[in-house]
């Protein structure tokens, strides 16, 4: 997605247009999930063609996703299931439940 352009956003700015703000705050997730309908996707891509800052933003948003996916659920201590069972049993006996 990265390209060499480093200029400002050249996308026209009228009320019906997709501004950087709407694109980033309201539309980006839908675009990335692939649930955005095609006419809107085309407008989204058109904005990107004219707007190096948004391309840059999208690159770093995707890099964020990749970084987060490197995190794995915390591995549980091996004996935890046993500890849980004996803890619950001991508490139950104490309370007479």
């Amino acid at each position: 997605m990265s390209h060499g352009g480093e200029g400002p956003c050249d996308a026209p700015n009228s009320l019906e247009e997709l501004t950087c703000e709407r694109l980033i705050l309201d539309k980006l997730l839908e675009f990335e999930e692939g649930t955005m309908p095609e006419p809107e996707r085309a407008r989204f891509r058109h904005h990107l063609e004219l707007c190096p800052p948004c391309v840059h933003f999208l690159d770093s948003y995707r890099a964020t996703g990749k970084t987060l996916r490197m995190l794995k659920p915390k591995e549980i201590p091996p004996a935890l299931a046993r500890t849980v069972l004996s803890f619950v049993r001991s508490r139950r006996e104490k309370k007479g439940e």
């Binding site: 980006l28 770093s60 990749k66 970084t67 995190l71």
Partner: protein
Amino acid sequence: MSEASTPTDLDLVRAIKAGDERAFEEMVERYHARVYSLSYGVLRNAEDAEESTQDTFLTLYRKIGTFDESKKFFSWFYRVALNQAYSRARRRPARTVAIEDYLPRFDESGHVASLEAGDFSQRIEDEAAAKELALRAEEFIAELAPAYRDVIWMNDVEEIPSAEIAETLEISIPAFKSRLHRARLYVRQRLSEITRPSARREAAG
């Protein structure tokens, strides 16, 4: 409890209600890893997460009679786990950030104001650098208010299906998506701040 096939959650719930000890053991086996990791997401340390996991299963044992069988078990039980972790977290001082301070800024016509430095998308090609950034991302997530922290942890780390997360947290799918997106925007902003060329020079010097 049927011997032939794997019992459903509801089979186990009914068996536990009937006093079947083995069913409770099976429930612990089935859910303890998930409960531990969820608790860790809230509490951020192993000892607290372990104790919270124990309390969660004790609560399960005591409160299972109040579980409404027309509801989904996992969402009821994840809520029990989150509530246990929240109450433990409340006993210590919390420091959370205001997510609004880290959302992208725009000029009055809605354009991105300027190119911010800190493009880490190249940097994560390197595995060691990517791992380091992932650990920082985990710290940033921990600073979020629970409404955002739990959504991004459950979705992006635990990879729990979005419908289950929304149901567990009792929020709508649009609210779930909005929180997830804002949480990711926040992490993106923090990661780009620490990878700015000037920040890297500061860290090196």
